[in-house]
């Protein structure tokens, strides 16, 4: 194995590979539902709000990823609550939370003493810095999210397809709105350390969007999105190793290139 993929002799690369495969798979599955529900902007806002969570974690001396999970979930719940309970449109509510949490994040970073190299690595991710705890945390959270998404996929697809039909059939639509946002917040928090705050929503949206260009049914959509997500994650990591580039942006560039290819292929057929 190490003959074929020489970089795998390094433990940090082994951890990185496990991490990107986990995140690539998780983000692709999540992305199918996010695009189905037209929630790209929401996922963007959640990922950016992770900045404040991480800064808060560093400031309070707790694990930044754990702090990010809590903060993202809180922001997701806040957005959902205001969208359901007020007359405001969801993009307005998201816009408020987006900018508010970004401002808070930058303010909190300013409160830190000294040079914040650790904090900045969260902006664009640093897969080579992940430790065993990060990998274990990613794997278990990803397992929970993916299991939930597949276990209740009929319900989630039905709600996304038409809320009235789902309501008439007895689905607890609002409860599932909250649950879905929580799952999305978890996905973002898990992925932030690997691809970074700025790029995590790209890894969620782009594989599903690319699959949508070529898939003829929902099963293929899911399958192709997962393949693209995994390809982007693995190829991006390997390419970043050889090109000596940042891994997060390289992974995103690979999936964007695949998106362009599927766009052309989809137009032709």
């Amino acid at each position: 194995m190490t003959d074929l993929l020489p970089f795998l002799q390094y433990p940090f690369m082994q951890r990185a590979l496990v991490a990107v495969v986990t995140v690539g798979f998780l983000c692709a599955v999540m992305g199918v539902y996010v695009t189905l529900r037209s929630m790209s902007f929401f996922s963007d806002a959640i990922s950016h709000s992770a900045l404040a969570g991480i800064a808060l974690g560093v400031l309070l001396g707790i694990d930044p990823v754990v702090a990010a999970v809590v903060f993202c979930v809180a922001v997701a719940a806040g957005i959902t609550f205001l969208t359901v309970r007020t007359e405001l449109t969801s993009d307005t509510v998201i816009g408020v939370f987006f900018s508010g949490s970004m401002a808070l994040g930058v303010l909190l970073i300013g409160l830190q003493k000294g040079y914040q190299t650790d904090l900045l690595s969260y902006l664009f991710g640093d897969v080579l810095a992940v430790n065993n705890l990060d990998v274990a945390l990613s794997l278990s959270l990803a397992g929970i999210v993916v299991f939930s998404l597949f276990r209740r996929s009929t319900l989630l697809i039905k709600i996304a397809f038409n809320r009235d039909l789902a309501l008439v059939e007895g689905a607890r639509v609002v409860a599932w709105d909250y649950a879905f946002m929580m799952l999305l917040a978890l996905t973002v928090a898990v992925s932030v350390k690997i691809v970074g705050i700025v790029l995590v929503s790209a890894l969620i949206i782009v594989p599903a969007a690319a699959a949508r260009n070529v898939a003829s049914d929902f099963r293929r959509l899911m399958g192709i999105a997962i393949v693209i997500g995994l390809t982007g994650a693995i190829a991006g990591l390997v390419a970043s190793y050889y090109l000596d580039t940042a891994s997060g942006p390289t992974m995103v560039m690979v999936v964007v290139l695949i998106f362009v290819a599927t766009l052309i292929a989809g137009r032709r057929s």
Binding site: L36, S38, F150, S153, T154, L155, I157, K158, F161, N162, D164, L165, L167, V168, E169, G170, R212, A215, S216, D217, F218, R219, R220, L221
Partner: protein, 311 residues
């Protein structure tokens, strides 16, 4: 009630006894004697099922106010098992709102709705016996999902990803009933208006419901296609006892297929056998003077239910 009674119209007065004769105002008399005094329209809600043992749909004193606008008020009616009831009225009369309130998609200011003997706010297991077809289905037409996969959503207990081959036959049978079997593997967003309606009807019928609620099923379908759509529903009704409540804008269809008609324009203006209650003055009240003269119908002597002919 057999379908022959319904469509042949041999005994409209007899058939009308339960639902039309004893209207819910009468029910109020029996239940609490509150009828006539407008402020006390809150009828006792208990025991309605006993009063109407054959009722599939029981709507009592239903009023909907949204943002200060009264969309409809004090609507009461009963639909017996196996009957077809059609709701007519002009645009903005509150027809869709009434259907949505019946299904508890909107919360009424007052009144109750019983579907198949259960309060619509707490339907429980009765839900699977109710098929619903919305007027318009808002969905993302670009999303890659096939007719087969949409139908799988209705068979939710058995999951979406597994055992697909085994479920194909069930779905195929359902689609054949509405002559849509060829659409099985089509993407839902690529269907024409009429095709989509057929698929939605198959979806509503998939679990063999006892009650079918259709909101203006012909909206967006060409006239030739529309005829066959109503015939389709009518044909399914002849195969098994099925209660149908549907919104319609077409009086021809009402005369041809409805056991009872409900004229709605913010309130219930008529309620009964179409041939009996759809008199010009009622139509005028419902639709306005112009429509009433337009729809003034000439009864065929051999057909007591009457046919509408547009001249």
């Amino acid at each position: 009630m057999s379908a022959a009674d319904v469509s042949g119209g041999a005994n409209p007065p007899g058939a009308a006894d339960v639902s039309r004769g004893a209207n819910p105002t009468g029910a109020a008399d029996v239940g609490g004697g509150a009828a006539g005094s407008a402020p006390e329209r809150a009828y006792p809600h208990t025991g309605l099922s006993e009063l109407y043992p054959h009722a599939a749909v029981l709507v009592q004193d239903l009023s909907l106010v949204l943002g200060g606008n009264v969309l409809f008020e004090h609507v009461s009616f009963v639909v017996d098992q196996g009957e077809t009831a059609m709701i007519i009225g002009p645009n903005g009369a509150g027809k869709t709102m009434l259907v949505r309130t019946m299904l508890n998609l909107l919360s009424p200011q007052e009144g109750t709705v019983m579907l198949l003997g259960k309060d619509s706010r707490n339907l429980g297991s009765v839900r699977s016996r109710i098929g619903y077809m919305p007027q318009r289905l808002d969905f993302d037409r670009t999303f890659p999902i096939t007719v087969f996969e949409i139908m799988l959503l209705r068979l939710e207990k058995s999951g979406f990803w597994l055992n697909r081959r085994a479920k194909r036959q069930t779905v195929l049978d359902a689609l054949e009933r509405v002559h849509a079997e060829a659409l099985m593997d089509q993407r839902i967003g690529r269907l024409s208006g009429g095709e989509l309606q057929r698929v939605l009807l198959a979806y509503a019928l998939l679990l063999d419901p006892d009650l079918l609620i259709l909101d203006e099923p012909s909206a967006g379908v060409d006239v030739a296609g529309e005829d066959t759509f109503y015939e389709l529903i009518h044909h399914i009704r002849t195969e098994r006892e099925l209660t149908v409540v549907m919104v319609s804008h077409d009086l021809d269809v009402v005369f041809k297929y409805a056991d009872q008609v409900l004229c709605l324009n913010r309130e219930l203006l008529c309620h009964g056998v179409p041939g009996t209650v759809l008199q010009p003055e009622i139509l005028e009240k419902t639709y306005g003077a112009l429509a009433a003269s337009y729809h003034h119908h000439h009864e065929h002597e051999h057909d007591p239910r009457g046919e509408v002919h547009r001249t």
